[in-house]
Symmetry: C5
Subunit: 94 residues, 5 copies
């Protein structure tokens, strides 16, 4: 889970990646606090600045329908409507 915090433009790219949109995502806990540094993800479903999104990371990100396997390792797969999480981390460092 993360929030869209920026855009990235890169004219010189691996051929297959032309036409794809790159976003900066800030990974977060359910309460919105940041977890790790921002990373770059591909987006095809129109996520915009400030959206809470579900991101698939690692090579599974390349399992996008209709496209040969692309050399990408992060893909926005959902724009979150709502979440409900019960506080369980009382004793944990999580």
């Amino acid at each position: 889970m993360g929030t869209v915090v920026g855009n990235v433009w890169a004219t010189r790219k691996e051929d297959d990646l032309s036409g794809l949109k790159f976003l900066f995502i800030q990974p977060e806990r359910p309460d919105g606090s940041s977890v790790e540094p921002p990373f770059i993800a591909v987006d095809r479903i129109g996520a915009g600045f400030g959206d809470k999104v579900i991101v698939t990371r690692g090579s599974a990100a390349a399992n996008m329908t209709g496209l040969t396997k692309l050399p990408i390792d992060a893909l926005v797969v959902g724009i979150i409507d709502s979440i409900d999480v019960e506080k369980k981390e009382v004793n944990g460092r999580g």
Copy 2:
């Protein structure tokens, strides 16, 4: 290993993911203490809030029978009945 701590709803998604259920999982040690921040996983076997589950992470999560490879990186693959672990971490930071 982790515990189901919440649900996530996202109407706008990558086409292949419609109909799948998304859960928040809190990763844990065998003694129940939290390990890392919660993450989002797909569930097809009916895990519910508070269940202890086995989760496959990374692109292997996409190896689900009967489906073309989906862009998902975490899948609930088992609901734990019981575990038995012998305390070995006396000297370790683990």
Copy 3:
């Protein structure tokens, strides 16, 4: 590298995983000190409690002969007879 520290039982599982054995593995340095929290791995070669084992993690764990790709991310691939390591970590945090 790690040590088998426990067992996990889960009746409700993804269909393909029935019949497989799940073990708790404590990842370690060569000197036996713990590295990260324990994780769950599949075992087919008969590792038992206290065995030092080689574990393949990530989606490569699904490259098991004779089986379609399973949704597993950790597989015991060897039971260690012996190791020889020369102390090099004098200056490192490793």
Copy 4:
């Protein structure tokens, strides 16, 4: 995202990798501060010392057009022209 900080030469290699260029990449946040230690990546699009680049890590790096899957886990896929990121991490450790 990272910056090219050096070169690596290795004559004895796995057969398929001969002819490929290896670079040292320093991974960074959008503000240029370093994130983790430098790592080695393959480059085919002519990135040079000091260039800001987009790097695909993990097995997706092997999804390079026109080549059988190579045993590489990091590939430079873009040379960044510009980025714009809005400061959001006021409360986070990110």
Copy 5:
């Protein structure tokens, strides 16, 4: 990048892995300082104790020519002749 610091022997293994050599690798920064604990990698190009090597980690390690995909997650792919890295980490924790 890392240095070969030891050997591992394991007679009882997954069938496909017999005949392969297992080495302990200490992952390092370009300046030789240790980064994480040592891990086990497969070697086919004859790396020996003390050699500086390039290691592919994760499932891409299984992309070895002439072999069906093996359940391995780390492969020595190059023995380093030389590197040149310019100090850039003045402000970073990297």
